[in-house]
Symmetry: C2
Subunit: 368 residues, 2 copies
């Protein structure tokens, strides 16, 4: 592992330079790089720089346009709808969330949708932008169809994440960021690479029944026929609430896809009939000012109190810690900021390939 350790600043600059070489502005490329590296810092490597090459490929094949002018199609004191012009998802996301924050600062609430966008990285990145303004931040996005509706055998809907964050006083901010499926697709890839079986109730084979074979699920999904897929949060059928995860994913689809006038369900593919196409992904951003409801210091003190009480609950037998959302990621971020980000072999190789292709130096900690 040590050979692939890299300092977050070096990694960010490298990723930014790559995206700039692909035609994006310095600023737009920064947001792509910062979203990727922040995800690595937080320990969520599935959304980290391992994805950089995918964005490069997206630009090369034409489904992501590196340089666009986003257009505000609708705008009011509290609402906006933005056409992202099929550009990079990350700058569109920052643009959308900044607008939601501005509106919340002047009216208490801001709600912004974005359509004609692309994969924007990890959703919590945008929600967390609200924190420094003492606002609640909410972000959702729809995504390529990987999840089967309850009782279906077709991947119809995305892993459609919901991020929700709230400011605190002495405790760390409360940061929730979750896919509305049992697991994100990256988790299947991790098990597949390790040659491990996946737990029953994560994903379905082409008949619509739970399977333990991650390779089969991934092959079905990658073949693009949409047979089988990941179960919604709550798992198979209705016994453990799989219909609830399906409902939450559909809610995200309504807010991001239907309400923005963007694409929905299987229209969100970026590759179809052996051709690349703009997926037309949609995002939802909301900022909410708690100081419109109660005194902000009371709000933050009560957040601290809630967090302390949850963490202080009695542990289940065999457990030694109760977490609150965001805590694990903040701790990992501190460790990785200090010690560097460890990259797995495949990710390091992919970055070295980009380094060579674009003649941009990449500095691992060992080689310094």
């Amino acid at each position: 592992m040590t050979t692939n350790l890299i300092h977050h600043e070096d990694l960010r600059i490298f990723a930014q330079q790559v995206i700039v070489k692909m035609g994006a502005s310095e600023e737009d490329a920064y947001y792509v790089a910062d979203n990727l590296v922040t995800s690595n810092l937080r320990g969520i490597d599935s959304h980290g720089v391992g994805r950089l090459k995918r964005y490069v490929d997206g630009i090369k094949t034409g489904y992501i346009l590196p340089k666009v002018s986003r257009v505000v199609k609708r705008d009011s004191a509290v609402i906006a709808n933005i056409d992202a012009m099929n550009g990079l998802g990350q700058p569109a996301g920052v643009f959308g969330m900044e607008l939601a924050i501005e509106k919340a600062q002047s009216t208490g609430v801001g709600v912004v949708t974005v359509f004609n966008s692309n994969h924007f990285g990890f959703a919590g990145y945008y929600a967390m932008m609200a924190l420094k303004h003492d606002l609640i931040g909410i972000t959702m996005t729809n995504s390529e169809p990987l999840v089967v509706p309850t009782f279906s055998r077709n991947a119809m809907i995305g892993t459609n994440p919901i991020a929700f964050v709230a400011p605190t006083n002495t405790e760390r901010s409360w940061v929730m960021d979750l896919a509305t499926s049992v697991v994100p697709s990256g988790k299947l890839e991790v098990y597949d690479r390790a040659g491990k079986e996946i737990p029953t109730g994560w994903a379905t084979d082409e008949t619509g029944s739970s399977t333990n074979d991650p390779a089969q699920v991934l092959k079905n999904l990658y073949r693009g026929l949409g047979e089988g897929g990941i179960f919604p949060l709550g798992g198979e059928g209705e016994i453990h609430g799989g219909h609830k995860g399906y409902g939450l994913a559909t809610m995200v689809e309504i807010l991001c896809g239907v309400m923005s006038g963007g694409n929905i369900l299987r229209d969100l593919k970026f590759y179809e009939n052996e051709k690349y196409k703009h997926p037309g992904i949609g995002h939802f951003f909301m900022a909410l000012d708690p100081s419109y409801f109660i005194d902000i210091d009371s709000f933050k003190a009560k957040m601290d109190e809630m967090i302390t009480r949850l963490k202080g609950a009695e542990k289940a037998e065999g457990q030694d810690r109760i977490f609150v959302h965001g805590e694990k990621e903040f701790e990992e971020c501190e460790r990785r900021t200090a010690n560097g980000i460890p990259l797995d072999e495949r990710t390091a190789e992919s970055l070295l390939g980009l380094s060579e292709e674009f003649s941009i130096d990449i500095h691992f900690i060992d080689s310094k």
Copy 2:
């Protein structure tokens, strides 16, 4: 069953009269009755008239005040925070949602919190009020602690439901209403009464491990010590995403309890130290006007299209139907509106008891 069949109008009038006898206004009592009966009509008997006696007991023991004047503590163009003065939850809910709708009609968004309230019945009732105005409706509430945070053995948090509804054109409205736990507590009661084991992964015993014995779980919860409880959506631990349900429940707690300045977590009990007390429940209401984002006819047509495509997906082997949210309940509502509401023996007896106590006639369909 036939002996306990009752027409929804007769049931509504009966329930309203009971609450009026307890000191509520005709209007406030109507909302209690209508919420209960609407839940029965939709087939959600766990939130139906079986709960009427609980509200009566709540008023008798003093933790629900039948006649209060709600106070708007904060008010802006898009936001309000309301003190429900420990009155009945249902009229407070209608008051809050109406305010959210008014604000959304003039600005595009309305967000209203309510504190010092009581159990308000089924959450979807309020969200659905938005539909006739072509608005998206969102409702949440916190509730008495029955759910264990991931890795804890203490019931710390409520089943904290989320309701989300969206208008359509030719299809039925999309209506999602879900507890953020694997199951609501009423489901454990159903299994207990039937002498059946509950599936692994629904609830925990006092050590924090999954149990199949509903009686044990209910006894632990009713003893009021908060040992053991229901698992959050996603089940035990983190393998199937139990931390996601825990996150969603906490999000509801923040919006309903923290942001309103109301009670949170175990403060929400209505019975503690052998005394009744106001639980101080909090609600969250939001209305959102899609016509601020895109043309409303396009929105509704796209909702129809999404619903049609989801229902038309290929079925998993052994399944003959894919549902969308609200569909089952609308169909049940049509059947029960036409044929009457079937009440189980225990519910019928509880209503007959109230009939005798308050000298209010109750008319079952058979006895007409």
